[in-house]
């Protein structure tokens, strides 16, 4: 019996079968969520966007070891590039498959812009400069409405075009094969496809010459240079790559929401993304994904459960749901960091770092 189980496990098809089950579950997920409420599909879409952001930030923080507290700025850049090129604001309506690469490229440019002056900084010092950078971008977005109105200031940009492919618009409700495809569900599948691509890119980058060079820089910059690694270029590359992921995520956010304003890109969002990376397991792609999904869903789940739970237990609402929700959320973060300091799914390297202190 045990033998046959072991044989089953060793069977070459086993991982494929597992992947197939996960894939089917992911494909069926939006319909299950839609049955509960379309809001949950939207929440899931936002969670996937945060997975993009976390994976992008993971390149900078997890791979290259450069702490970036202003990462949301690249998300903002991508979002505004999309909003400006596909809305009535400038009366431009370019298709998304042109804008997304432009947004990624401009975000990458901003990444280099942030990276270049901070090449010699590390740790706390770098964190402070990047934090300032994030704020600068937000403040610019808030104020670039005069003398020439570029960003429309704090009012933000509305009526942003949804994604359109020929006749197919992602915002319309449609029924195919007897299934109801609402806008969010269509976006969900698109996001899932992009996510797959981003995961593949990340996995391949990590186990490559470039990924190893980033790790070398994180571990010891002087030794990395002595190994022929051009640390300046590779750090800029890390910033640019990470930023371009943020740019793509921003563009998709713009299209999905249909409205953006500087308020969506505040410091708390940057901190949130850093938390996702650290809590999930810096440097481990699956850990980072888990971190992003958990931190995206937990506040929402608490939002829907805290109040009914109080009603059921005490017959009335003792504490404001909004207060206790963030309290529980913070508590969860503290507990996870206390009991799993390397993250929920630590990378092999971090695990070694925290347990292998035999040297």
């Amino acid at each position: 019996m045990i033998e046959s189980l072991a044989r089953l496990k060793r069977h070459a098809a086993a991982p494929w079968a597992g992947a197939a089950i996960v894939a089917l579950a992911l494909l069926a997920l939006p319909f299950a969520l839609a049955a509960v409420g379309t809001a949950w599909v939207r929440i899931t879409n936002l969670a996937i966007l945060f997975v993009f952001l976390s994976l992008g930030l993971n390149i900078v923080v997890g791979f290259a070891g450069l702490l970036d507290l202003g990462y949301i700025a690249f998300y903002a850049v991508g979002a505004y590039v999309y909003a400006l090129l596909a809305s009535p604001h400038f009366n431009l309506h370019l298709p998304f498959w042109i804008i997304l690469p432009i947004g990624a490229a401009i975000a990458a440019l901003f990444g280099v812009l942030l990276g270049a002056p901070t090449l010699k900084l590390r740790g706390d010092y770098l964190a402070i400069v990047t934090l300032g950078f994030g704020e600068i971008v937000r403040i610019f977005l808030n104020n670039l409405s005069r003398p020439v109105n570029i960003t429309n200031g704090p009012q933000g940009i509305a009526r942003i075009d949804p994604f359109r492919l020929g006749e197919l618009s992602f915002s319309r409700h449609e029924a195919w094969l007897g299934l109801e495809f609402s806008g969010p569900i269509k976006y969900y599948y698109l996001l899932l496809a992009v996510l797959l691509g981003i995961i593949v890119i990340n996995l391949r980058l990590q186990n490559s010459r470039i990924g190893r060079a980033w790790e070398a820089i994180r571990e010891d910059e002087i030794a990395a240079r002595a190994m022929g690694i051009n640390t300046r270029n590779l750090k800029l590359l890390a910033f640019a790559m990470g930023a371009s992921f943020g740019g793509v995520a921003g563009g998709m956010f713009s299209a999905i929401q249909g409205f953006i304003s500087p308020e969506s890109f505040v410091l708390v969002e940057s901190i949130m993304v850093v938390s996702m990376v650290v809590l999930g397991g810096m440097g481990n792609i699956w850990g980072v994904i888990l971190g992003a999904v958990l931190l995206s869903f937990t506040p929402e789940i608490l939002r829907w459960t805290v109040d009914p739970l109080q009603q059921a237990l005490f017959g009335r609402s003792l504490i404001e749901p909004e207060v206790i929700r963030m309290l529980l959320f913070g508590l969860a973060l503290v507990l996870i960091m206390l009991f799993r300091p390397a993250g929920l799914l630590p990378s092999a390297v971090r695990k070694r770092e925290l347990t292998g202190r035999t040297a």
């Binding site: 010459r209 190893r212 070398a216 002595a226 190994m227 022929g228 690694i229």
Partner: protein, 256 residues
């Protein structure tokens, strides 16, 4: 005969401290060249100037006939000078194998696009990197430790790993900064053997060392520094008899 590395009048000053004063010497191909001197003589400073960590205030040096003065460290590594560090600088949290694989960086090409597309050529390059790294671990005698965290290796093995990592860059000149520091006599003996083997395989070695016996055993020629100046150069036997060297190490004979 043209020298592999020709150093001409290199000086380095740190504020008011003259760390190196007009140092000139030449290393021939396939020799083991020793660099000794009392503490603070400027050995490591010279090393750091030659490997691009510090910029020289004066002087120039050529490597394989090419002027490499003032190049940044990574360009010097690409040119063919690899080094180890006096206070070991391994990528401590990576495995021994990964450390050596990183050393292959300047001799491989795959960029971001190649990594993402992972063409046949990139996959082949990756396999070649791993194969070569394992060979080098075998060469320095720590293959069994390939998957251990570099920082958890015993001290002597860390030194060996640094040498393997440096060799992975395919240097013409391997510069070792006090490789025997902290080693026991048996380990030193083995290290001497390894250094000779490296030379036999066609790599020139520049060796900074405190352990005089090791230097005298393995080096063809020795340069002696004291207070940033060259005070002697020659074969081990010549240098050992040089009164200036004896004075630098043991102090001046007391005036009667």
């Amino acid at each position: 005969m043209s020298a592999l590395l020709a150093v001409d009048g290199v000086s380095k000053r740190f504020g008011g401290l003259q760390a190196l004063e007009g140092i000139s010497f030449a290393i021939e191909e396939r020799e083991i060249y020793g660099l000794i001197g009392p503490n603070g003589a400027g050995k490591t400073t010279l090393f750091n100037v030659l490997t691009g960590v510090y910029a020289a205030n004066a002087g120039a040096f050529t490597f394989l006939g090419q002027n490499i003065t003032g190049l940044p460290p990574h360009r010097i590594a690409c040119a063919g000078i690899a080094r180890t560090f006096q206070n070991i600088r391994l990528f401590a949290n990576l495995s021994a194998l990964e450390n050596v694989m990183i050393g292959r960086h300047p001799r491989t090409r795959a960029g971001v696009l190649a990594a993402v597309v992972r063409s046949k050529r990139t996959a082949q390059e990756e396999r070649a990197i791993e194969r070569r790294a394992l060979e080098l671990l075998d060469y320095v005698g720590i293959r069994a430790r390939a998957n251990d965290r570099a920082g958890s290796l015993p001290y002597g093995d860390q030194r060996r790993l640094e040498i393997a990592r440096a060799l992975a860059t395919e240097p013409k000149l391997l510069a070792l900064d006090e490789p025997a520091a902290g080693m026991n006599p048996a380990e030193r003996l083995a290290l001497g053997k390894l250094v000779r083997q490296i030379r036999a395989d066609g790599v020139t070695v520049l060796l900074i060392e405190h352990d005089v016996r090791l230097v005298m055993n393995v080096c063809d020629r020795v340069l002696v520094l004291d207070y940033g100046e060259k005070i002697a150069e020659g074969t081990a036997a010549q240098v050992q008899r040089d009164p200036k060297v004896i004075e630098a190490y043991l102090g001046a004979p007391r005036a009667a």
